[in-house]
Symmetry: C2
């Protein structure tokens, strides 16, 4: 069976794995990311690939990177976490490992994995939303990964949801990921705890006493214990998440949405509300089918699996 | 040369035409829409088609209708202007004319015409925004019309731009078309004229004295004469138009946008600002190409031409 290698290049670690045609990870390893030195990143990737390719015949390598990847899947135009600007990653890694290489946006790779092997199996039109610190997005249309004219499609977290809203790292105001993400959850919980500490009594207790100490884990724990402020923060996030899905449905009319990322590990606290709010707000409701909202199935390996499979079908 | 017929089914009139492979309208006729009687609409379409097909060999017929058209291009699920619910338009018209028939959303048909024969020629990824009373949208991706999983894609006017904003006919609040359309322009101008009549002196004079008399034509005329209120209304509309384009660029990364519709006949009053505001607000600006914003070229015949061509390549 033909094997490819997928590499998920994160800000702190590089995960690489050998993946088979069914999306199974046959072997897997981790390396620390030499985040400050772009040259060394390519070398570290190449070392990992060589290590994995020692005992096996490998067809191709797929690299998933957080950032703008150009439409030829060769160049990382801009990667905020890795100090890359117009980085010719495909060429560098290919020269080092002697195999065909494709570069993909990491959220696109995850979406592809979920579409082909995970929660979106069998669905031709789907939108994958990775709700973590921010929002990552990937779009599969007509059974193919959608990249856009210049490879910059599916930057879903940067739709503006609130004019003059919270400032975003992208330089704009009110982006979706400032309202529906792990960061947003913490911002919301802190705001409530500051304005109404009594309502956040349990949350503040868990966090150590002050709103500034609140992090995502504390909000989740407090919500599970019924803390009204933590529950309100989840509820607000769920409504914004649903609103963004409604906007995407108006534009793309997907058959389903797949929600993943760190925040989805606490999905029991918000998924029902997202589904209800989506169905109640969808434009044209009553005259159209309502897209399924599903949870991602492949967890942390989705990026690696997707990159490997996209290298296979390159 | 193979010929097809395109029909643009409007709320007040039905425009039908014979179209050749190059998108040229060879012959053209108009009929009044029997808007209250769904049965008679199919008959009127059939009469127009028979009339046009008398002297010519026709391959197929494409119908463009404002409304939700299902993914098989057979059924109009919901058309607010024509009192249609689950209308089997393809079957009815095909039975009456004895030719293959496809049904398309009218804005999709216009987008296709502009992509193939108009302002978007040569562009594989484009978004067409028809700015009229409301907003119509059409998306062409990878050289094909994008319809969505159930045919309901590209309802661009119903992205929410402003939470708790102006009520929309779709039942939601703050939809894009409530801020960037002919209606929005008039609402905005009226608001300014009411709040600050001195600023709208020329506009009020042209309109007949009271804010309630202001319509789109008056706002355009007053703007051309330098009326500050009318210019402000156009400026506000231009910024909202640009914001919606930015959201679409974040999601779809098209190579260009094509703007058409009634409001684009006064494009000299707003197009520069839309382009500037888009370039200044696009997420990731500086690290990606900036999509062209072009004006539609085919005018009122775009819907008919697009429907005819989509019937040809059915």
């Amino acid at each position: 069976m033909a094997l490819t290698i997928g590499v998920d290049i994160g800000g702190t670690k590089i995960a690489a794995g050998v993946v088979d045609e069914d999306g199974r990870v046959v072997e897997h390893l981790l390396r620390a990311t030499p985040a400050r030195d772009p040259e060394r990143v390519a070398e570290t990737i190449a070392e990992a690939v060589r290590e994995l390719a020692k005992e096996r015949e490998i067809e191709a390598v797929g690299l998933g990177a957080a950032g703008f990847v150009d439409e030829t899947r060769a160049l990382v135009r801009f990667a905020p976490n890795l100090a890359w600007r117009e980085e010719p990653l495909q060429k560098k890694v290919s020269a080092l490992v002697g195999l065909p290489v494709v570069v993909e946006n990491d959220a696109n790779a995850m979406a592809w994995a979920e579409a082909k092997f995970g929660a979106g199996r069998g669905e031709t039109h789907l939108v994958c939303v990775t709700v973590g610190t921010g929002i990552g997005g990937g779009i599969v249309l007509g059974g193919s990964l959608y990249r856009g004219r210049w490879g910059m499609g599916a930057e879903l977290g940067h739709m503006q949801l609130i004019p003059e809203g919270r400032p975003c790292g992208c330089g704009n105001l009110g982006c979706w990921e400032q309202y529906a993400s792990g960061n947003a959850l913490v911002i919301e919980a802190k705001e409530i705890a500051r304005a109404d500490p009594g309502r956040a009594a349990r949350l503040l207790e868990i966090a150590g006493g002050t709103p500034e100490q609140i992090e995502g884990k504390e909000v989740t724990d407090a919500a599970r214990q019924g803390d009204p402020a933590a529950l309100a923060a989840f509820s607000t996030m769920a409504d914004w998440l649903a609103q963004g899905l409604c906007d995407l449905a108006a534009i793309l009319d997907p058959g389903c949405f797949v929600l993943g990322g760190g925040v989805s590990t606490a999905a029991d606290l918000w998924i029902d509300q997202v589904r209800e709010s989506f169905a109640a707000t969808l434009t044209g409701r009553g005259h159209r089918p309502v897209a399924d909202i599903r949870l991602a199935e492949l967890g942390a390996s989705a990026g690696l699996v997707g990159a490997a499979d996209l290298a296979r079908i390159r």
